[in-house]
């Protein structure tokens, strides 16, 4: 007996909201990528809870792919940030017009 | 309730025993390193404090504890204080999954000779070793000093690069033992240690382990003659002591892991299992010291080339070959 699945979903929802807020409201490329990571993590939490809720490993399998996507996104994203920083000397998204 | 209390008691006893032995060994490994290295370089090591300098670790620790604890004004105080603790704690926690003997029966109760046997023990070790990178990187950054920052960046890059080959070299071991649990891996080596089937993996793991514990010839993060002392340049007193303890506990942990993954863990004739494990740990640590006395430091590009272009491909080929053998 842990908690109702609702609570896991609410936790994931709050996490996702925070990640989205970070990604949209902060004016810093690195913080935007961080926001994306938080959102992906929130999705993983929801999927793991779902896997337990329906006692099926499908949810956990999806989480593994989320990890792969997160790793890909972060490596390419950070490489882009570095090359953008080399071009303009700034990580402010407002500078790229 | 009684079972619960007995279990708790047993765990406390085991924890304190392992912690005590680890720290004692770490202290005397420092002594052994100084002594052995001294003889390799045709000089006596410490020989003033006590017979053969045997009291040197005690003198060292008293000195470290009583030294002034300096936090630079420009440093980030919280992270500066956190970093050494991260290094020491992650190194110590790694020992929690290392089995040091077969389960013994005491007062009609079976006691496993391992602090905790989790089914993802191997990944637990990796998780902790990847968290250990934070101690180095944050310690270097929080000092707010150029040399420390360089050391921290080097350390972070080196440790995440070599973690890959460290992990890949163990995949064949997991394939042969069919389990992530360190207890099962040791049990699978009851007849033959895995080093017989996996010499390549053993070498890759050993080299990566030396790189992970930042010892010569891979001590670029703390290269004394280029960076002062690298990431722990600004540290003094017991905070430096924690980095120091972390390094020596790391040596022992990797010695224990090498023993567990390749040398048959606690298996061995005649002597009791715990002694066998200790012997293996000490022999590997002494070999690391011998290596320190022999090899020069690698250049940074050599380090990266060796990690990415030699060790990782070799580990991948090793996985494929092992897989083919297992299928046949």
């Amino acid at each position: 007996m842990i908690v109702p699945y609702n609570h896991v979903l609410i936790l994931a929802g709050i996490l996702f909201l925070m990640g989205m807020f970070c990604a949209t409201a902060r004016r810093n490329l690195i913080m935007i990528v961080v926001g994306l990571e938080i959102m992906l993590n929130a999705a993983s939490v929801a999927f793991i809870g779902a896997a337990l809720r329906w006692q099926h490993m499908e949810g956990q399998a999806i989480v593994l792919f989320i990890f792969a996507v997160a790793a890909t996104e972060v490596s390419v994203g950070l490489a882009l940030i570095v090359s953008a920083y080399r071009r303009t000397g700034s990580v402010d998204p407002g500078m790229f017009k | 309730m009684v079972t619960w209390i007995a279990g708790m008691l047993m765990l406390t006893v085991k924890l304190s025993l392992v912690l005590g032995v680890l720290l004692f060994l770490a202290a005397y490994l420092v002594w052994a390193e100084r002594k052995f290295l001294g003889r390799l370089q045709v000089r006596y090591g410490p020989n003033r404090a006590g017979k053969f300098g045997l009291l040197q670790p005690i003198a060292d620790s008293i000195k470290m504890i009583t030294k002034e604890d300096i936090v630079p004004t420009a440093a980030d105080p919280v992270l500066f204080m956190l970093a050494p603790a991260v290094v020491a704690i992650t190194a110590l926690l790694m020992f929690a999954v290392v089995p040091f003997g077969p389960a013994v029966v005491l007062w009609g109760r079976e006691i496993p000779m391992v602090i905790t046997d989790i089914n993802v023990g191997l990944l637990y070790v990796f998780a902790l070793s990847s968290l250990g990178v934070y101690g180095v990187a944050l310690g270097g950054w929080a000092s707010n000093s150029k040399f420390a920052l360089l050391g921290g960046i080097r350390g972070a890059a080196q440790m995440i690069s070599y973690e890959l080959s460290l992990g890949l070299s163990l995949v064949p071991v997991v394939m042969m033992a069919r389990s992530f649990s360190l207890v099962d891996i040791v049990a699978a080596q009851a007849d033959y240690p895995f080093i017989i089937f996996q010499p390549v993996a053993f070498i890759i793991f050993f080299i990566s382990a030396v790189a992970e514990s930042k010892r010569i010839p891979f001590d670029l993060p703390e290269a004394e003659n280029e960076l002062g002392a690298g990431f722990h340049m600004e540290y003094s007193g017991m905070r430096f002591g924690l980095f120091f303890i972390g390094e020596y506990v790391h040596m022992q942990v990797f010695g224990a892991l090498l023993a567990v993954f390749f040398l048959g863990g606690w298996h061995g004739p005649l002597l009791p299992p715990v002694i066998w494990l200790l012997i293996k740990i000490i022999v590997i640590s002494l070999f690391m010291i011998w290596m320190r006395g022999t090899l020069p430091r690698l250049r940074y590009d050599q380090l990266m080339t060796f990690g990415w272009k030699v060790l990782i491909p070799a580990a991948l080929v090793n996985i494929v070959v092992t897989g083919a053998f297992i299928l046949i």
């Binding site: - | 003889r39 390799l40 370089q41 000089r43 006596y44 290596m291 006395g293 022999t294 090899l295």
Partner: protein
């Protein structure tokens, strides 16, 4: 492939060398038990010597104090009734001294000399300041026969001060007239 073999051989060579060193006798000289005999001219603790008559050689000319790169020598000059100068007090701060030996070179009377005695360390830094009594010794140091007043500025049976060959008239130090 040959590269690999070569590097393995090189590694083995290195390990063998250090392993052999393990069984060699260490070349360390253990200091307090064994003191290496130092050459007489090695530079360490400073002394003030006396001339063969047992008189102080120092004439308090301030040359050593002037030449000292770390300004660790200080003194106060006075005169005896017969016009012979000497140092009322003479002080060397060994906490500062770098044992360069320039004072010895500068000394016209060979009074200040450096000795090989290097292990005079103290726990209290102020006790590293040596006074004249601590510095003055009862022998002539490196130059046993040298006596300044035998060589310079003395009147002989034939001629007075400053009248010998190649000598100038003595400078009247008490007056600034030419």
């Amino acid at each position: 492939m040959t590269d690999v073999l070569e590097s393995v051989k090189a590694l083995a060579d290195g390990f063998a060398t250090t392993f052999k060193h393990l069984f060699r006798k260490p070349i360390t000289e253990e200091y307090p038990e064994y003191k290496r005999p130092l050459p007489v001219r090695s530079r360490a603790r400073i002394i003030l010597t006396r001339d063969p008559n047992g008189d102080e050689r120092c004439v308090a000319c301030y040359l050593c104090s002037a030449v000292c790169p770390v300004s660790c020598i200080s003194m106060q000059s006075t005169e005896r009734s017969n016009g012979r100068r000497y140092a009322a007090w003479f002080r060397i701060n060994f906490g500062r001294c770098i044992y360069c030996g320039l004072c010895e070179e500068a000394c016209p009377t060979s009074a200040i000399q450096l000795t090989p005695n290097f292990d005079h360390c103290k726990r209290e830094i102020l006790s590293m300041v040596y006074e004249k009594e601590d510095l003055l010794v009862d022998h002539c140091g490196k130059d046993p026969d040298y006596n300044f007043y035998r060589h310079a500025g003395i009147s002989t049976a034939k001629r007075d001060k400053g009248e010998h060959i190649n000598e100038f008239k003595p400078v009247r130090v008490k007056s600034n007239l030419p």
